[in-house]
Subunit: 326 residues, 2 copies
């Protein structure tokens, strides 16, 4: 993770499927002085890639960052088509039915995969990649540039569920389940990889008081974020008994910017189940060390990752504070 005490902003490329919680993550990144958002790729997931790209353009304009290029990525997954996303969670438009002011900007002429490769070459050894949607674009970038794991400094993904239950099957989290083959390739590629999954994201919440604080702040950005969250909160209200939301993508963004302390995050072997069996889409982390304190040398290289199991502190409060600066 980014050392937040470093002096110059760290170049960061985002791949996302905007999406309500992606919108919060984008706002977080723009509000974070430690990172320089050099580009954004859009992939299908919560919504179709083109919809997510449009939402991202509009949100970046609202944030005063029309200068950040947005690149259209994969509509379909590596070995199966996109099938409609999660309109019951994010709304059919990905922004909970709230129409964002339409920006004048359009997607770049470069694909998300190529743009990631270009950014990695331009910032060789320095670029951070934060991927908060299915990993299709990243897998495609690996095809374009097999040396990507050496060019990119570190990768943080929102995905998986190591010991926690899944959210789309008993064991699979949505991003990984959408494109298990892509996730398997990314995990096996040898990136310096941190996996931020449901073990931690399910326990970090944005509450109605946070949402009301955004609305009350009344800037164009905070008002839109507060409005966009209403639909998302309603989805979780059915599950948790009160309007609130978990913080999947923003927490991963907080890890990428170095603001979230992972109090338990062992580096262990990781594999993705890309079979058609009952475990399809599961991110299998080898946590047998939990039985005896992870002795010995942690694995490095392909098929290993830092797996977030516990987070210190309440990220919802930190997130709100930073969003209120917008």
């Amino acid at each position: 993770m980014l050392d937040s005490s470093s002096s110059s902003p760290a170049p960061l490329f985002l791949d996302c499927d905007t999406g309500v919680d992606d919108a919060l993550a984008i706002a977080w990144l723009v509000a974070s002085p430690g990172v320089d958002l050099v580009g954004v790729g859009a992939v299908s997931g919560n919504v179709a890639a083109a919809t997510g790209a449009r939402n991202t353009l509009d949100l970046l304009a609202l944030l005063g960052r029309e200068d950040v290029p947005v690149h259209l990525g994969a509509h379909d997954f590596l070995d199966h088509p996109f099938s409609g996303g999660a309109p019951h969670v994010h709304g059919a438009d990905g922004t909970g039915g709230v129409a964002l002011p339409r920006a004048a900007t359009e997607v770049s002429g470069t694909s998300a995969a190529q743009a990631l490769v270009d950014a990695a070459r331009a910032h060789a050894g320095e670029l951070r990649l934060l991927a908060i949607g299915p990993l299709t674009n990243v897998a495609l970038a690996l095809e374009l540039e097999p040396e990507l794991p050496r060019l990119v400094r570190e990768v943080v993904i929102m995905g998986g569920a190591a010991m926690a239950p899944g959210n789309v099957t008993a064991v699979a989290e949505a991003n990984v389940h959408n494109d298990p083959l892509a996730a398997a390739r990314v995990v096996d590629a040898g990136f310096d990889l941190t996996v931020v999954g449901l073990d931690v994201t399910m326990h970090q919440r944005f509450e109605e008081e946070h949402r009301q604080a955004l609305l009350a702040a009344g800037t164009p950005v905070t008002r839109v974020l507060g409005e966009v969250l209403e639909f998302y909160f309603a989805f979780y209200a059915e599950r948790f008994g009160r309007p609130c939301s978990v913080l999947h993508d923003p927490l991963a963004a907080g890890v990428a910017t170095g603001d979230v302390r992972l109090s338990l995050a062992p580096r262990v072997p990781v594999a993705v189940d890309a079979t058609d069996g009952p475990g399809r889409g599961q991110t299998i982390a080898d946590l047998r060390g939990l039985y005896h304190g992870f002795p010995g040398s942690p694995p490095v290289g392909p098929g290993a990752a830092r797996v977030a199991l516990e987070v210190g502190g309440d990220f919802g409060a930190v997130l709100l504070e930073r969003l209120l600066t917008l």
Copy 2:
């Protein structure tokens, strides 16, 4: 689980792969007034089925229960051969290198699968089945008698790992991993099924003081059990930093006899991964209800089971106390 306040002993059939912790479980069952051990099947697992059967015969004789018939079961698993068991855990002989006094009794002429079917018919609606090895024999019994789930009152298995890491792969527990196809058939058969896996067994321990107490009691049974445990303790000492053992099979036996209180054991959908993928042998319990308190009606019937997640109390102390009555 058996209601321990009921008056007459409940008929119970055991299927096992004796094995050090199987030996403790057998001793527990013989010492438990609430159950009537009507027969034992032997399956390959910790050791070959024939070795496990011999160990069981010798142990039952030592316990004064030569009357309990022991039935030889499957040497090979449903879709692959037995490959040698776990001599590093249980010793090549399954009794940690301790030669048990050789009993005069021999295995019955009835297979373990047929004997289970016969017992289920003889005690229709009353028989309890405790299966603490791979589920090959139980799957074979289902082939002989598809009505077995209606004839058997309840099944308790030692197997699986729901949220806990596995012990032979990142996600698979040894009994289920030995014969995933058999486990899948048993889970899908529609038994009243309780799954006692690593989530609970890994946290219940027998310590060196327990073993010394067995040796000091000095009866033929307690002395042999104390001696047999030495090798098993040495295996775990390498992992836990002190001589001790976890209590896989005895804890399942304690659940079957109604002496172990499961403080968290939701009835949820369960599936076994019988693919050749990275999740092979995983017992997939759908615990998504953990995120919001398991609302709604728990599933019943095929593909559902009560999954032990938490145990109240220290079973090691309870186990020792009962073994000291032998």
